[in-house]
């Protein structure tokens, strides 16, 4: 269906400033970064971005619906450390420990969701509170680090399938599921509608409570999953650092990817691009021996510059009407308009 394609093209062009920056950056590192453009390194970037991708896509959904979830970093820590506890202290099987870890994430999402969607507390405040509370709870399990989960569990974090790391497969599955949900289910359309205008969605008969509730649960579960993948990859569950600051990285990636704070806008493709952008930026800078401090500065700058680019392209498009959505170039209509009366 060509109309559909045009919508895709529009999405793509909307993400264009980021796409262009991505290509430029990638080219730069490929030329100047020693060992950047090698299969091993790129696979490493993908592996390290997997957890971020899962969390970013999930909070991206929450943000498209017009809400926000800041608790993900601590949910990740809590789920990871809880699973680590179950494996090392209670000698549970890794599979059950993982399931419980994800379920704990979903449960915290459920609490957030009920408070925000049904009791109508501010999402910012509720999830900020959860961020602090769950970090405390993580320390209550242990102030230290659990190690050594056994070889079976390690496969989950660093094993390969068809020579692609398993966490990358999982992240890909999450991206595909989220795309299918947003584009090809009724619920996905409802998410956008709620994000654009709750009142109009409400008058159209959409359940404006259940949708954010569901999304908060998804986001909690995704953070739990990211926690499990991470402890499996590093074979340790450090309660002092697991997931710390992760909510900000995820938020950065989501905003880079063109999801707006106001809701109603964004795509999984854009978010994925945002995640990879951050991952490659960090990897490339590390390869080029840029200090950690400067890497952090670069991350922040990337976000600000991308926002400026987007604002600039929005301004341009306003100046030019919606021409950039037209498939053909703009010459003909202008010529018509310029004919003297």
């Amino acid at each position: 269906m060509p109309k559909k394609l045009r919508g895709r093209a529009a999405d793509f062009i909307f993400a264009a400033p980021l796409t262009v920056a991505f290509v430029v950056m990638f080219g730069f590192f490929a030329i100047y970064g020693d060992g950047f453009f090698e299969a091993d390194n790129l696979q490493n970037v993908a592996l390290q971005s997997a957890a971020l991708c899962i969390v970013a896509v999930a909070i991206g959904l929450v943000m498209i619906a017009g809400y926000i979830d800041l608790s993900v970093g601590s949910v990740m820590g809590f789920s990871g450390v809880a699973a680590g506890y179950l494996i090392t202290q209670s000698h549970w099987s890794p599979v059950w420990a993982s399931i419980v870890g994800v379920a704990l994430g979903a449960l915290s999402g459920l609490v957030n969701g009920v408070l925000v969607a049904y009791l109508r507390f501010s999402a910012l405040i509720v999830t900020l509170g959860a961020l602090t509370i769950l970090r405390g709870a993580t320390f209550a399990i242990t102030p230290q680090t659990f190690y050594d989960f056994g070889p079976g569990f390690a496969v989950f974090g660093s094993g390969h399938f068809l020579s692609v790391p398993i966490p990358v497969w999982i992240a890909a599955a999450v991206c595909i599921a989220a795309t299918v949900f947003l584009q090809y289910t009724a619920g996905g359309r409802h998410v956008y509608a709620v994000g654009v205008s709750q009142e109009a969605a409400y008058f159209s008969g959409i359940n404006v409570r259940r949708i954010p509730l569901f999304l908060f649960v998804v986001s909690g579960a995704a953070a739990g999953l990211a926690g499990i993948i991470t402890i499996a990859r590093i074979d340790a569950a450090p309660s002092g650092s697991l997931g710390v600051g992760f909510e900000l990285s995820a938020l950065t990636a989501v905003l880079l990817g063109g999801v707006s704070f106001a809701g109603g806008r964004g795509s999984v493709f854009g978010i994925l691009l945002g995640v990879l952008f951050l991952g490659i930026l960090q990897n490339g800078l590390a390869i080029m021996n840029v200090s950690f401090a400067n890497q952090q500065i670069a991350n922040g700058l990337a976000l600000v510059v991308a926002t400026a680019l987007e604002a600039g392209s929005a301004w341009l498009s306003r100046r030019m009407g919606v021409r950039r959505l037209a498939r053909r170039p703009v010459t003909t209509p202008v010529a018509v308009g310029r004919e003297p009366a």
Binding site: A186, R189, A200, V208, R319
Partner: protein, 515 residues
């Protein structure tokens, strides 16, 4: 000197909205700007107000020649606009809105007391006896009151030379519109240039001196004096063809589909009313008569205080719109921009929103079925399918309204009771009579009960089988088709003068945004 426009052109997304328009307004003239939906009327005035930059052409305002205007330049040149889509900020008070951007200050501090007094005086001279609380929050005011505040805001500026009103009366009854007309006549005699956009023809003959009709971005009738025109000529110029109201069959006595017994709620009641299968009932009443509140209560958006709602004989208690829709009740709300339109989503999403879940199989969309539903809704409302993938906010006002009506007219859910609040607001004359026909047909064919509220007596006479006149929240009279005339309606609604506008409390809101 006059305000004049030469060869104005503007292209949106490859399709021209204005192509080479010439237009002129004299001092002390009310110039009516007419045309079908999407003709480019709002685009033309947005060029004048600096909200849109034209691609070509010149704008002359009192000896100054512009090829494009910034909003600031436009204000300095003395252009004041009352937009079709109200531009007031809901979270601010009436006073704050009136003086927004033009605050009265001393040493940088806003002089709240002075502002409040001036706003109150302005509202008083503008509206005569009607009271609007200057401290009231705009978001809680009914649509028509907001429109009046908008007028006050435009007139609060010192040096207005060109006043533009884009469908200011779309949601007002005749007596409310007269408040605005009186004011316009006075301004005209002070030598203002006034451009007046409307889809209500009788207003043209009441207030306008000259008429220009736009069609497809071109001038179809240029600056004709109203004295040389009659209604048919104007309608023909707008619609491109003659518009006839089709003959209609009478509905016989039928089983009641919607029954209200002693229903009362915020600002209305108790109301007893029955709407039969295939019957179209019009609620006519002034601002604050409670008609919108009644519809919103039936739709579950407000809680009733007492009484019962029955659909097909079963008592229902819809606690929210989703519940009402599940019972087969639909509402086209009065406030299109806030309660109906999803500006960032495209036209198909806007039509299909209530149908997505119903059409889906295990939650997964069936695109072919969706296309069919959209196509039939578009066909019934003569929505141009070329615009199917435009975003809601990029469509002209009347085109947006078609989407919202189409959303329920052809919804995939079974609708037994179709309620509409100002169903044809902003819709052009040609399409309007087609919509009436389609609404009637769908009522008769599907045995639906149609209940609509309107402030336009012409609309009530054209569409309703039976009219119910509401005043101060109660039903005061009822007219069967045989006695349904414009005179009867107006008399019944305004016997004791219009009621004051009231606030909008008592909402069952979906909740404020938390992000």
């Amino acid at each position: 000197m006059a305000v004049s426009i030469r060869g104005l052109s503007k292209v949106f997304g490859g399709s021209p909205a204005l192509s080479g328009v010439d237009f002129e307004v004299g001092a002390g003239e009310v110039h009516a700007l007419l045309g079908p939906n999407g003709a480019g009327k709002s685009t033309l005035i947005r060029c004048l107000s600096g909200a849109v930059q034209p691609d070509a052409g010149t704008i002359v305002i009192e000896d100054e020649v512009y090829t494009e205007l910034s909003p600031k330049q436009a204000i300095e040149a003395g252009v004041a606009v009352i937009y079709q889509n109200t531009s007031l900020i809901p979270s601010l008070t009436v006073t704050e809105n009136v003086f927004l951007g033009e605050e009265l200050t001393r040493w940088g501090f806003v002089r709240r007391g002075t502002q409040r007094k001036e706003a109150a005086a302005l509202l008083h001279t503008l509206l005569g006896s009607a009271e609007i609380d200057p401290d009231g929050q705009v978001g809680s005011l009914p649509l028509a009151t907001r429109q009046l505040v908008e007028v006050a805001k435009a007139l609060s500026r010192a040096n207005v030379k060109l006043l533009i009103l884009d469908e200011p009366t779309a949601a007002l009854t005749e007596s409310e519109a007269h408040i605005i007309f009186d004011r316009l006549r006075r301004l005209r005699s002070q030598g203002l240039h006034i451009i007046y956009i409307t889809h209500r023809l009788q207003e043209v003959f009441e207030i306008a001196d000259r008429v220009t009709v736009l069609r497809d971005g071109k001038v179809a009738l240029a600056g004709q004096s109203v004295a040389n025109l009659d209604a048919t000529a104007v309608v023909t110029a707008i619609a491109g063809a003659r518009v006839v109201h089709p003959p209609r069959d009478e509905v016989g006595a039928s089983r009641p589909v919607l029954t209200l017994s002693g229903l009362s709620g915020t600002r209305f009641g108790p109301v007893d009313l029955e709407v039969g299968a295939g019957e179209v009932v019009g609620l006519f009443g002034a601002l604050g008569s409670g008609r919108s509140e009644l519809l919103e209560t039936i739709f579950g958006a407000r809680a009733p205080d007492a009484g019962r709602i029955l659909v097909n004989g079963h008592a229902i208690d819809p606690r929210k719109p989703a519940g009402a829709i599940a019972e087969g009740i639909a509402l086209v709300p009065a406030d299109r921009l806030r309660q109906a339109l999803l500006g960032e989503l495209d036209a198909t999403d806007n039509v299909l929103l209530p149908s997505y879940l119903k059409l889906a199989l295990f939650g997964f969309r069936r695109l072919a079925a969706e296309r069919r539903v959209f196509a039939s809704a578009a066909a019934e409302t003569s929505f141009p399918t070329a615009l199917a993938h435009r975003r809601g906010r990029q469509l002209s006002g009347g085109t947006q309204q078609k989407l919202i009506v189409g959303r329920w007219l052809r919804s995939a859910r079974p609708i037994h009771v179709l309620m509409m609040d100002e169903p044809t607001q902003g819709v052009d004359v040609g399409t309007r009579s087609e919509l009436y026909k389609i609404i009637l047909e769908s009522a008769r064919r599907d045995g639906r009960a149609v209940l609509f509220a309107s402030s336009d007596h012409e609309e009530v006479v054209a569409l309703a089988d039976r009219a119910v006149v509401m005043k101060a929240g109660r039903v005061v009279t009822e007219f069967q088709r045989s006695r349904l005339t414009e005179d009867n309606l107006i008399q019944a609604a305004h016997l004791d003068g219009a009621e004051g506008p009231a606030g909008n409390a008592g909402w069952r809101q979906p909740g404020a945004r938390h992000a």
